[in-house]
Symmetry: C2
Subunit: 571 residues, 2 copies
């Protein structure tokens, strides 16, 4: 492709709302343009990246035995009513009425539509197992779309759904998809971890997220430094730390802490280590107050507490409710005498002389001992895993902490959708059975963003070669006939060698061309200049690392080819 | 692909609503399934065909210098308000409100969105010309969706938009796209004609439709038997036939035609040739009554009359209005003394002794002569072209009539969108100019349906090889180990030769397998049977024509490869 013909408008400045690298560079380098909040057009460079990701996804899913289909984007409300998600999904589900007043959902996911397809056409165990996938625009009406392609409202997703004769076969396919996903993200050239995860709104009872590691990731994950265990911190298991303290070290004593209700400030005021403090969180679980106790330096794991309570909704109580329950301003809550169920983390039970709120404004207590001062508390694992925690799955391992961007998610669904929608088959004995299911998603456009979050520098994007919009940029640094002729010939020869070339033939200064090639993030750059012509060489630069070597003109194609092969093979 | 693993549920009966071949066979052969009225899921076979069409489209458009982009499916209402189509488009435009109450259109076409993209990023004549295309789901909320993929509500379309420095360059690109379209439809293996067409709601002042010829087509077209001229009958030009009759042959005489108001019945009653009759049509043009006179055997061309009147809306008047204007029941209208503008076709002016209505219930008149009996009538070309008419573009040619299915349409738009939306650039002299535009559409899913309308028989589809879901079906007709082993080996060897094979390895009778292969429409079929094994041969059948030949097993791959190469090269 000739750069002079390509619509790739580069910008010096990103819009103010662009806060993360992928949003900044996708916009500045001319890969995407915003049409509305969270709704983006893909320009030629952006679409090239998306097509490369799609191709890798298709190849690996086909190889894994899945079949591609394409469902409509508008799904009749009736199907969503069968699964009850029409009522439950909330405002992220965009609802629309057609000209005759019929209700439709703009598809954010397709469990209902695919189950409807399968229940009509698949009747016998002989037609199972079946794994159907599609690559399609999806819409989720996020309240706060942000970060460009990272969390848009309209986005391209690969969604797959599998149907089975029994749960064992569904688990086999789960592993099959897990393996395919690992191949896909490896082939995309990404550093990632598969982590155990909560199933959230999709449901089911087993799931793994595929997380691209990047400091800007929204998700916190931990991974053992010795075994394979890795999990989203929401889901990460912990070993109980410490034994319950048998006796209290001293009597409970009230201390005056005027105007100091934030734990860091109390720690500073009292000069005691934060590990001696007990955080008392007042929450509302399905409309009822509960209290959760954690060591001062720990964070509550909402998913674990929700699961322990069997609650659907769990959130922090409002200030008024906290004050009413503790008879004090917010910041001075303690578990002593609270008229609500209290749940304590084992680390809290291990303290014989803790510090917590006094349920009295401007006061705390020291000498807190759970067994004595809040005997009704139930002890259970409540905290969020963090770096340094002991691994729950192996002896001797410890967690390391990472930030990740979720690009894929596999779910074991069981019969969550197939039972209410009566997706059944006749087994070998002629008996009607419900099909267990799995579902499997990949955020295609999000992969493009995640790749940039993981691979960029101050000058722009550093695309992994397998998903780069072009493999190599040719820059003609000069207007001499010999320079232009050599550049043209290299453009022809590299193209003939099956290499994707962006030939910068624009009437611009070399500096502008170099800056644009770096910004766009093309993995290799060949510079043809007047001085090099005299020496019979061109310059070959690798975007990652910035190494520049001089290469005899006659060897340029072979050298580029070798680097491309290496980049594709590594992935 | 092994048939036993493929989701291709075949049906003995199509649903009652399926009236045309493509709807019947796409459903019966398991290519599509209906999700809602005019909204279809593509099953694996259907998507394979669509992907093949898309690939041909991409290759030819890229070769023609267009660049692929992908716009969102939801477009903000503000853009459609700028072009005034938010108000004008009618209920086919599906409108939706997001969670914050903002209005969006579900894109039925993308002129507004692409103009918005270009006006923001293209500022200089140096960036032009530019031709951007996308392949995307579109939605048009048709009142009466019908015929499966022929006229659905949700469908896949390739839409392209070009931007230029001047009209001459826009016309050059129009021709460039015209040529690319011709290559695309040829490569798809379709018999088609490019015909001059009306521009309709898209606007602009020059357009061609690409029509796949098929008896079931919705469009009537004529093509000269001597020159290249071809046009939709709506647009087809005609030479004036006959000279105005200088004088009347006789006096106007009333005749009694009791209860006979339909022209065919009057012809039968009077025993006169239909060419002597004058049809008097009363219409409403933008709210005002007009009359149109045509020879009894001719049809009004609404587009021509609309253009002559400069009218936006033109339709037949209701019965009450006709009766009021003619003071007679419907069926007895004549132009004599009508209090409205009258337009007459030259063939009517040529009659010296015509027959028409008497403006009196149960009566007609004979002896009609336009110059005497309706002197105020304006004579102009009003009729629809038909087979046998003289060609308007060459001497000696005559029109032949065809039915067609519109699969592509190219438009010269001029500044219809770019002027109101202020899509401008600075020319070489630094002056701001509006960009002339073209737009170019292809109905991807409709091509699949049109191909079937043109290529089928009683047993099913006969896919043109370039867009067939598979090139060859292998049928193992028998369960003997040798039969199965030979079929497996052929499956492997044909796949290794780059041929797309559907291997029917199902535990079914040969008759079922043959029927399904014919229904699905796979161009070639290789049958491996016990008897053939003994002779060392397999049977090779061509779906089109049904020719069966015996081929030595060792030569089967080469023979299939040769037929595939021929099928792809012919296209």
């Amino acid at each position: 492709m000739r750069h002079s013909k390509l619509l790739a408008p580069t910008l010096r400045e990103a819009p103010a709302e662009a806060q993360v690298a992928s949003h900044v560079f996708l916009t500045r380098a001319g890969f995407i343009r915003k049409l509305a909040a969270g709704i983006y057009s893909l320009l030629p460079l952006g679409l090239r990246v998306v097509h490369k990701i799609e191709r890798i996804v298709r190849e690996e899913l086909d190889r894994a035995g899945a079949q591609e289909v394409l469902l409509p984007m508008l799904h009749p409300a009736e199907l969503w009513q069968e699964s009850e998600r029409w009522q439950k999904y909330g405002p992220e589900l965009l609802r629309v009425k057609d000209r005759k007043g019929a209700d439709f959902a703009v598809s954010p996911t397709a469990e209902e539509a695919i189950v409807d397809l399968v229940r009509r056409d698949v009747k016998s165990f002989r037609q199972l197992p079946l794994n159907l996938y599609q690559i399609q625009d999806k819409f989720r009406d996020e309240m706060r779309p942000r970060a460009g392609l990272m969390r848009g409202r309209e986005f391209i997703m690969k969604d797959a759904y599998s149907f089975h004769t029994d749960e064992a076969d569904a688990h086999r396919e789960y592993q099959n998809m897990y393996d395919a996903y690992a191949r896909i993200f490896k082939r995309c050239g990404l550093e990632f971890r598969a982590v155990e995860a909560d199933t959230g709104a999709i449901g089911g009872n087993k799931s793994h997220e595929f997380q691209v590691l990047a400091d800007s990731g929204e998700d916190a994950i931990v991974a053992c430094d010795q075994c394979d265990y890795a999990a989203n911190v929401e889901k990460a298991e912990l070993l109980p730390e410490g034994q319950p303290a048998a006796t209290a070290a001293r009597a409970l004593e009230e201390i005056h802490t005027p105007g100091v209700g934030v734990i860091e400030d109390v720690v500073r005021l009292l000069g005691e280590p934060i590990e001696r403090f007990v955080k008392t969180l007042i929450l509302v679980a399905d409309g009822k107050l509960v209290a959760a106790l954690l060591r001062g330096d720990r964070d509550l794991n909402v998913v674990k507490l929700k699961a322990a309570l069997g609650a659907t909704e769990l959130e922090l109580a409002g200030d008024a409710a906290v004050s009413a329950a503790t008879k004090a301003k917010v910041g001075f809550a303690g578990p002593q005498g609270l008229a609500m169920p209290v749940y304590a983390d084992p680390e809290v039970a291990a303290l014989s002389d803790g510090i917590t709120g006094a349920n009295k404004t401007d006061h705390h207590v020291r000498g807190f001992h759970l067994g004595r001062d809040c005997a009704s508390a139930k002890v259970l694992d409540l905290r969020t895993a963090a770096a340094g925690d002991r691994c729950a799955r192996c002896a001797g391992g410890h967690y390391r902490a990472f930030r990740g961007i979720e690009v894929g998610h596999v779910f074991f669904l069981g019969t969550k959708y197939s039972a209410p929608m009566k997706c059944t088959f006749l087994d070998a004995g002629g008996k009607e059975q419900v099909m267990p299911m799995g579902c499997y998603g990949i955020g295609i456009t999000r992969i493009a963003a995640a790749a940039i979050e993981q691979n960029h520098d101050a000058d722009g994007i550093i695309w992994p070669l397998p998903i780069a919009p072009f493999h190599v940029a040719i820059v003609a640094a000069g207007k001499e006939a010999e320079v232009l002729a050599t550049a043209e010939e290299l453009y022809r020869a590299l193209g003939a060698a099956g290499i994707e070339v962006l030939f910068d033939d624009r009437d611009e200064r070399p500096g502008v061309k170099f800056k644009d090639a770096d910004l766009i993030g093309i993995p290799l750059r060949v510079t043809v200049g007047k001085k090099g012509m005299a020496e019979g060489i061109v310059e070959l630069k690798q975007r990652r690392g910035g190494v520049v070597v001089k290469v005899p003109i006659a060897e340029a194609v072979a050298r580029v080819r070798a680097l491309c092969d290496e980049g594709l093979a590594r992935a």
